[in-house]
Symmetry: C2
Subunit: 400 residues, 2 copies
Amino acid sequence: MITLINRSLACLAAPICATLMLTAAEPIFSPEVNADKTVTFRYKSSTAERVQVTGDFLPKQTITTDSMTYSIPGVADLVKNGDVWEYVSSPLAPEMYSYSFIVDGNRSVDPANIHRVRDINNISDFFLIEGEASEPDNVTDYGVHDVAHGTVSKVWYKSDKLGKNRRMTVYLPAQYYDNTTQRFPVLYLLHGMGGDENAWSELGRATQILDNLIAAGKCEPMIVVMPNGNSGLEAAPGESSEGLVPVNIDAKHVLNGSFVDAFPEIVEFTDTRYRTITDKEHRAIAGLSMGGAHSKFISANNPDMFDYIGLFSAAMNPHRVTDSKMYSDESEKLAKLFSLNPKLYWIAIGVDDFLYKENVEYRKHLDEKGYKYTYVETTGGHEWKNWRIYLRQLLPLLFK
Amino acid sequence: MITLINRSLACLAAPICATLMLTAAEPIFSPEVNADKTVTFRYKSSTAERVQVTGDFLPKQTITTDSMTYSIPGVADLVKNGDVWEYVSSPLAPEMYSYSFIVDGNRSVDPANIHRVRDINNISDFFLIEGEASEPDNVTDYGVHDVAHGTVSKVWYKSDKLGKNRRMTVYLPAQYYDNTTQRFPVLYLLHGMGGDENAWSELGRATQILDNLIAAGKCEPMIVVMPNGNSGLEAAPGESSEGLVPVNIDAKHVLNGSFVDAFPEIVEFTDTRYRTITDKEHRAIAGLSMGGAHSKFISANNPDMFDYIGLFSAAMNPHRVTDSKMYSDESEKLAKLFSLNPKLYWIAIGVDDFLYKENVEYRKHLDEKGYKYTYVETTGGHEWKNWRIYLRQLLPLLFK
């Protein structure tokens, strides 16, 4: 009787659960992170003829076409043992890794892994290699640890300028509720093209990074506001009244300057809704790629608003794509901004980034004018692996 | 130049993006909901030999084994046209549907669909058929509409009894911030076995149901607290310090009574953190399956706490699985509860539910004692399709 109950209860809800019970009587565990930090991938199939795995945990390979050279993740073959295919990786460093299977040439997510993340129109399985307890400072450990956790909310605000109800993600530090009169500084954290208000909390592991740094006393408890930078949209796909449609990337449309123009509404909303400290010394703005462009021009158009500015792999020249008064008179706007001595103007990029050259040019302009900034150059390219590290490096520098 | 920029920007982040650019130069759109409410499923592969789709939008089929008879979703074949396989469904009624592809015998999620939901250890693609604007009352329209939206938060509370920081989902109605002195009633909404604090907001579409009913004036603005009913766990898989492990279903462990015992801590936390109305007349508790058992015994052990109790496909007899003082003296506890005249004791179940019989027995007991309750019997079985409808039916009855 208990067996029958358990079997039925295990199958409370899934519409295709009965099918699974028939076909997957012995579920497999994949991916399994082993004690030596190797990872075992498993795929169950009696009909497949070849099963491969590809992902950023494998050494990259280079592919050259007529027009371009691509660096792409490697591919490894799983070995069949009965009806379970298996591959064991090398020992891996702490990091958030993503991967997919390729089954007889068709890309397939791992049916045994429930941990997935969306990047633009692409879903990937992921896994985490966590750092050792003995190395709590490991900068690429993005695990959830048993520390005080902040509150993460999906919040809607009304944008009069954009004529929409719009959605944002808001992180409130655990300390926000410890003392209900205390006020906090705010970081506005912006995503890149194709991203949305979920990008930093999901792909960026911002929630875990903040929880862990704040708990370790390495950064100030702060509110972090992660808005949706696509000014034509209400919210992430599936979360808006536009229905369940794929992400439409149109650089001319999303870089039209209207998000920059409407940004002060978000600051006003945040200062009204939350216990913020409402001055320049307690406001930061940072973003990646398109969000770097947004951060650069929002701060330049509002020189009294932010004392801390972070540009991660920033698209420095959105005016190349579209015209907007938000992008005009750049030199004059920067002159005004830097005349007010922002406490931190922080630029980070990887040497393989396709935006590296325009970052060199931008820094050259800053150098010529004698504007003070901090520059961090890393390995790697235009990738979340770098942006998570940049966030972790920037946070301890804010509100000091 | 713009082309190159766009191409690069479209590929800002995905680690396997370069691979995709090479293999999926022309992305396909799947599933596509057509104007006549048929749905087109598409799968791209030049190597597959057979592609099928299975899901709850297809008529069910029955499979009989030695020991049991299963009712499982149907399967349909996609037809190959070039390297794109396609299937068009019949016109479908408004509902949240889930499905998977079967490629050469291997289950595969739809690579073109970014909308997925997890049910226990199983990820399914889903799509929504929305109702017409002319029929806003359609009870199975779970779309996001352009109405005032509540705030949905992931919140951690400290459970002294369970010795853990634990995570819950909290819905605050849009009205919560319209008037910052107004206080609100609270519904505690509990998931089933294998579920967690994400189940009602994701599989249950509770957020959309609440937004739409409140906006239509059909239910009272209320706070809804969705805790994690697995007393041994901190949070949903991947959100806790236990790491990225699959869901472990162990009826003896999760139905050990400790969640029932510790529940008053959640009410106390909610009343401290939020602007609640802190009396019985403004508290409701409801849950599905195991959450129905929890709702039944939490209310019976705390007869002064809730005036509204909802049991959806409830597991009435958890004492059959484990023993706990929370389940003891059931008859006496119910006598006390009903002597205080709860305003609503609401029981709903489908005739095909495997818990139907124990619901009949429980109602027989209530009838014998002359206890007043409301009973709703539907078609269907132990499935989210019913639980979403039950929630939508219960909400307008609360706090009247």
